[in-house]
Symmetry: C2
Subunit: 200 residues, 2 copies
């Protein structure tokens, strides 16, 4: 009977999938809350309400606010590593970062909060130095001119990549387009490509 | 007698100078308070305490929080117009902006708050469009290649210019130097010059 089927206890695989979905829903809610209020201002209760779960479940899955933050950082690093493909052309990597940062506005807001609040997530330095090493390898391979300094250039490119999100009001005033409109994104990517092409 | 001299009532010029000094002290305090807490979070009482003046004096000089904000915006525009000299080379203008934004960290923080809070100061759009027009004139004069779009390039350059302040934690991780150290500033200016030189 249908009712029996509906009431049967879920298989191990289903339980695992459900747990994974809940975990992701909590992380999505946490990203929005952290992005809106910063780490200090974020409330675990608000995250639970936004995710539609019991607050105790957040403690169970993530061991509270710090654990959530660490899990979000790990998720961002995985996303970022997926974008930063050593075999792709630098212009493709840079424009992909610009796209990701526009799609992940809450993450960029969180980065700004970190800068405003002087916070530093664990292991960030190591992660960021590895990105400079990647750029150094591109320089060795001839993608970047020898007179440019990868460490400083990296910062310059990050500033340029995050500008449409960090400075959305500047973007709109300069161009007359909303920074998150498809036309803006396409034209900005085009400019990034042209500038990157001039770095070799 | 010395005491008589000390007690004589101040001349009109002295009173004006004192008033000007007090006004500037209030503005300096307001910039720090707005930079730390954003417009919404800033408290006029805290600004008065920081400036060492009576809160009523702020109402008298500036007509409250909105008036303070407008006065700060005007002061920033005057500073910005001083940097954006049409006769200077673009590389000089860009590196001067980078210097000003590092010296005026509280102002840059305030810009970020505007972005986070979705605020927009009055007249900003017009002011920013005028900056794009300046860049367009530089393009017409041959300082910028014809295939670059001044409106989008302006945003890209702003992102690069503000990066050491907006992303101070990135700057330190990438380069191993504090973003406000003289060595960092000099080397970053050098990179900005090299990138700008490639835009023509």
């Amino acid at each position: 009977m249908a009712e029996t089927t509906a009431r049967r206890s879920p298989s191990g695989a289903e339980r695992k999938r459900d747990a994974e979905r809940t975990r992701e829903r909590i992380l999505d809610a946490a990203l929005v809350e952290f992005g809106e209020h910063g780490f200090a201002g974020a409330r675990v209760g608000a995250i639970a309400r936004r995710a539609g779960v019991n607050q105790q479940l957040i403690s169970y899955y993530f061991d509270g606010k710090e654990g959530l933050y660490r899990a979000l950082t790990e998720r961002w690093r995985a996303l970022s590593a997926g974008v930063n493909q050593p075999d792709a052309a630098l212009a493709d990597v840079i424009t992909a970062f610009a796209d990701v940062s526009q799609a992940q506005r809450h993450w960029v807001r969180l980065l700004v909060w970190q800068a405003l609040e002087g916070d530093q997530a664990e292991g960030e330095q190591q992660f960021r130095q590895a990105m400079v090493d990647d750029l150094r390898q591109r320089q060795a391979a001839g993608e970047i001119a020898p007179d440019l300094d990868p460490a400083f250039l990296m910062l310059l490119l990050f500033g340029a990549t995050l500008a449409p999100t960090l400075l959305a009001h500047f973007a709109a005033d300069f161009t007359g387009l909303a920074a998150d409109s498809p036309e803006f994104r396409e034209r900005y990517a085009d400019q990034l490509r042209k500038v990157v092409a001039r770095l070799s």
